[in-house]
């Protein structure tokens, strides 16, 4: 099934070696992750679903949280967050894992990061299909702002790309950066409004909403995918610009320092 989807897209790509190479590396990375396992792509679903089940139980049964469509509410946030966490962790290893390409072929090395984010996005899209099915079971129609979802996804993609670039530069020089990043991911997991509304931060901790784009990303993802959820246009635009500027800075730092890093690999 996935092979057919890949084939369908592949035949419609522009006949350009750079675009095709980015696509192929992403596709192969994706296959590498799941095709060796007996259940294959189902593992891409297993992790978020198991976590959603667990948190749903804890928050609704133990903490008695009352929220309309709470499973979908958590699902929206957790898909985006887990995919970002995976992108950043795996992204930190790109320079080491793709050394064989960089040593042998001349090309724009930023392409490797685009491929990497694409391969993570394939898995996330698969999760969103699962979301759509569960959404049907809950008789939830899409949110009022569904048409803005591509902007939310693009912001997620650009931010993940920028973080992967920075982490991949740090890790070969400073292995401890991986552990520091894991701590930050843990903090981010509980402070991005996955289980509650991120609006909590807007009044008392506004500064935090400015430095953690996931608060706005998750709120606006819910406005797009869930009924009766408010859109935050300011954060939609702010986060998009934040991610864009962060990416420009990350690419600048990358171009400036990459050769110093490749020497250390």
């Amino acid at each position: 099934m996935t092979d057919r989807i890949f084939e369908f897209v592949e035949k419609r790509l522009p006949k350009n070696n750079r675009i095709e190479r980015i696509w192929k590396i992403a596709q192969v990375d994706f296959k590498r992750r799941y095709y060796n396992d007996v259940l294959g792509l189902l593992w891409a679903l297993a992790n978020p679903l198991s976590q959603i089940g667990l948190y749903y139980f804890i928050f609704t049964r133990i903490f008695k949280k009352e929220q309309e469509n709470y499973v979908l509410y958590i699902f929206c946030g957790i898909i985006l967050w887990l995919a970002f966490a995976e992108a950043s962790r795996k992204g930190s290893l790109i320079l080491k894992e793709k050394q064989y390409l960089m040593e042998n072929i001349q090309f724009n090395w930023v392409d490797l990061y685009i491929s990497h984010m694409l391969s993570i996005t394939y898995g996330m899209v698969f999760n969103f299909f699962a979301y759509a099915i569960i959404s049907l079971l809950y008789k939830n129609t899409y949110g009022e702002y569904f048409y803005l979802f591509p902007i939310v996804l693009l912001t997620w993609f650009i931010f993940g790309l920028a973080i992967s670039i920075i982490l991949s530069l740090l890790r070969p020089l400073f292995e401890d950066s991986f552990h520091i990043w894991n701590i930050l991911l843990n903090i981010g997991f509980w402070s991005s409004g996955i289980f509650y509304s991120g609006t909590y931060f807007f009044e008392d901790y506004t500064w935090f909403s400015y430095i953690n784009p996931f608060i706005g990303i998750i709120l606006n993802a819910r406005a797009c995918l869930l009924e009766n959820n408010e859109l935050y246009p300011f954060w939609l635009i702010y986060n998009f610009l934040f991610a864009g500027i962060f990416l420009v800075v990350a690419i600048y730092i990358f171009k400036k320092n990459i050769k110093k890093v490749t020497e250390k690999i």
Binding site: L13, N17, E20, R21, R32, E103, N104, I105, L173
Partner: protein, 249 residues
């Protein structure tokens, strides 16, 4: 700065010094070495000063003992690492190092691997499609196109890798001992034939090898690297004599 029209690669005053950190150094010293490597890390001078030009259609041999700096020079030419300040590399055209089975993945089928490696070597999917039959026929794996590589014998794997590499596209090829020793006598003859017709025929090549007979057979110029210094010879035989005198010294 524009390069002379027929120069495709210009290597000027390239030197390379690495600063290597002692594995057992303290955390403090490691952090300090990131900021000021010259003060806190050990200095290893790999290349001293190397300058040469490669002209369009050249088959330039590069020879040197293990540890002489050949790989470092290739890494600088391909742009993986920088030369020391003051050195420069200018390339006119697309440069590719022909490495066998560079991006092979055992879990994927031969078909997937051909498309992946082909696109890495600069071919569009359309071009790969056009050459697909030729690649698998040459590699003699027609019946196993949809078989994952983990079920291939090492011979089949090598033949496929060589077949893909021989169909690569670039203006300048860097070849690091990759051909000649794959497969049986018949396959070697076939490889040499394809290599002569497709790669060696009018393309610009930098050929790194320890095999003096291959260098003598193919190259029109020779760069000898000895202890980090480069010596360029327009006469290959003369260069090989110089190299022999250095290794026996």
């Amino acid at each position: 700065m524009e390069m002379e029209e027929n120069i495709v690669l210009k290597v000027k005053n390239v030197a390379k010094t690495f600063y290597v950190m002692d594995k057992h150094a303290s955390m403090g010293t490691r952090v300090k070495s990131l900021i000021n490597p010259k003060k806190y890390a050990q200095k290893v001078e790999v290349l001293k000063t190397i300058s040469f030009n490669v002209f369009k259609g050249d088959f330039l041999g590069v020879i040197g003992e293990n540890g002489s700096g050949k790989s470092t020079l290739l890494k600088i030419i391909i742009g993986y690492i920088d030369a020391n300040e003051g050195g420069s590399v200018e390339v006119n055209g697309r440069l590719t190092k022909l490495a066998l089975g560079m991006a092979f993945d055992d879990a994927l089928t031969a078909r997937d691997n051909i498309y992946l490696n082909g696109s890495i070597f600069g071919l569009t999917f359309e071009e790969i499609e056009e050459r697909f039959e030729e690649i698998i026929m040459y590699a003699e794996v027609e019946k196993f196109v949809n078989t994952p590589l983990r079920f291939y014998s090492s011979g089949m794997r090598s033949r496929l890798a060589l077949s893909i590499a021989l169909h690569a596209e670039a203006d300048i090829f860097l070849i690091d001992e990759f051909f000649g020793e794959v497969g049986d006598i018949g396959f070697k003859a076939k490889s040499n034939n394809i290599f002569n017709n497709r790669i060696a025929n009018g393309k610009t090549i930098l050929f790194v090898s320890h095999f003096m007979n291959l260098i003598e057979q193919y190259c029109n110029r020779l760069l000898v690297i000895d202890k980090g210094n480069g010596y360029l010879f327009e006469d290959v035989k003369e260069g090989l004599l110089f190299y022999k005198s250095r290794i026996s010294a």
